[in-house]
């Protein structure tokens, strides 16, 4: 059986992460270890044969064997995400294939440079897989997550990220609320800009971090440009852009 053949996964659990984001844990008959940052393709088939496919980043670490967690943003009127939101329950079957993608990945080597993760909205999903993988490996590779959301209710994985930041002094969580911040918020409260990125890069001192940026195209464009302006080499910046796909 080929590595990326379609297989029938079973929905093991569903978690509402935020008002518009759900995580689906799927049990796979042919699970293979993935790299943190990779994705699966998911395919829906209607009576009559019509099919729709989308790609979703894996949120779970490869240490979580036999299953994958896919975190899905529910797009208004989305063909696939709308069905996943309304039409799928625990015990249902879904066709998936993967893992896919060999570029936007963090293998988790102990010798790896520090990690600078920048996520916008559901762009945090592959970055979460990297942080979970790092934690499961017990690595203390310095890591910073700059996570940009519009409002406090949109912070995916909030409790887990805050617990990780509390328990692991080598991990720093920087939340950025672009529209509405929680009461008394003293952190970032604007769109990510060059000055913010320069501040974040300066946290690494002389070390050149490996940067991963994932989110909407506009955010990733400005992050990639801003990180270069802050002194990072283009080779140290990996990007994954979610265009306006309306899925």
């Amino acid at each position: 059986m080929s590595r990326v053949a379609w297989q029938l996964a079973t929905v093991k659990s569903i978690k509402q992460e935020t008002p518009h984001v759900k995580s689906f844990t799927l049990s796979l008959p042919n699970w293979t270890p993935h790299l943190a940052g990779q994705h699966y393709d998911l395919r829906l088939t209607a009576e009559g044969g019509y099919q729709a496919e989308r790609s979703y980043s894996i949120a779970s670490p490869p240490e979580q064997t036999g299953e994958i967690e896919l975190t899905v943003e529910i797009i208004a009127d989305g063909e696939v995400s709308g069905y996943l939101n309304e039409g799928v329950a625990v015990g249902d079957e879904l066709e998936v294939r993967g893992p896919i993608g060999g570029y936007f990945v963090w293998p988790g080597e102990a010798s790896a440079p520090p990690l600078l993760l920048v996520g916008g909205g559901s762009g945090v999903v592959p970055l979460m897989a990297m942080l979970r993988h790092r934690q499961r490996l017990g690595l203390r590779t310095p890591a910073v997550l700059l996570f940009s959301v519009r409002t406090p209710e949109e912070v995916i994985y909030q409790a887990e990220l805050e617990a990780l930041a509390k328990d692991d002094p080598s991990f720093t969580l920087l939340l950025d609320y672009t529209r509405q911040a929680p009461p008394g918020w003293a952190g970032y409260h604007r769109r990510i800009d060059a000055a913010m990125l320069a501040e974040v890069v300066s946290r690494f001192g002389d070390a050149q971090p490996q940067a991963f940026a994932c989110g909407p195209t506009g955010l990733v464009e400005s992050v990639a440009n801003g990180l270069q302006a802050a002194g990072l080499q283009a080779e140290s910046i990996l990007t994954e852009r979610f265009g306006p796909t309306g899925s």
């Binding site: 080929s2 209607a46 039409g87 060999g102 283009a234 852009r241 265009g243 796909t245 899925s247």
Partner: protein, 213 residues
């Protein structure tokens, strides 16, 4: 798994166009790139034809813009599942470029190479006979950097990663040499109508491995 259906799943997206399998129509122009967008200075820009040619040739930006141009209105299909119909480009056909070189007979494949280090591979035949062009204008405007400007190779009958952004030239080769995404497990050929997204989808896999044995 041909009999599997998702209970209650109904198509929501209607398209007036014929879509390749697994694709949906978008009217946006999404962006997919692995790293930062290169900023290319037009005074240093050049386009080269090299590799298995009798005499390599290169053009400056000014020279390239004097080549005969045509309008192209292709449908494009991205491996990330979107398709965009009837796009409007102006540029130089690869056939026009090939009039300026004499290819060696063993030239069968092409590596498209780009500013920023991107590469992708295609059979030479897939760039000839009006099948591919170097796009300079999109919707009448200079092609934006995030979409591959100042110049992008466009090979619309293959998945869009075969259309190298920020293209710098074509290198003619005897063998099919995998490029950037192809080395990462994506299809060597990338026919959207056969849904050749990944290497495992290529129909020559069985024969290729038996040849290696």
């Amino acid at each position: 798994m041909g009999f599997f259906t998702n209970k209650g799943f109904q198509p929501k997206r209607q398209s007036n166009h014929k879509l390749p399998p697994g694709q949906y129509e978008t009217t946006d122009f999404p962006v997919l790139t692995a790293g930062p967008t290169p900023r290319i200075n037009l005074t240093n820009w050049e386009f080269r034809l090299e590799g298995l040619v009798e005499e390599p040739v290169q053009w400056s930006w000014e020279e390239f813009n004097k080549l005969p141009m045509q309008d192209f209105n292709p449908d494009i299909h991205c491996v990330t599942k979107w398709s965009k119909f009837d796009t409007h480009w102006r540029g130089v056909s690869v056939d026009t470029l090939l009039e300026h070189v004499k290819l060696k007979p063993e030239a069968q494949f092409v590596t498209e190479f780009s500013y920023g280090g991107y590469t992708t591979n295609v059979p030479l035949a897939d760039l000839r006979d009006g099948k591919a062009f170097v796009g300079l204008l999109y919707d009448g405007q200079p092609l934006a950097a995030e979409h591959g400007g100042p110049a992008r190779l466009v090979v619309p009958h293959l998945y869009f990663w075969k259309s190298a952004k920020w293209v710098q030239g074509l290198r003619f080769t005897a063998q099919d040499e995998p490029g950037f995404w192809e080395r990462g497990g994506y299809s060597m050929y990338g026919d959207p109508w056969k849904e050749q997204r990944y290497r495992d989808d290529d129909d020559d896999q069985a024969s290729a491995s038996s040849i290696r044995l």
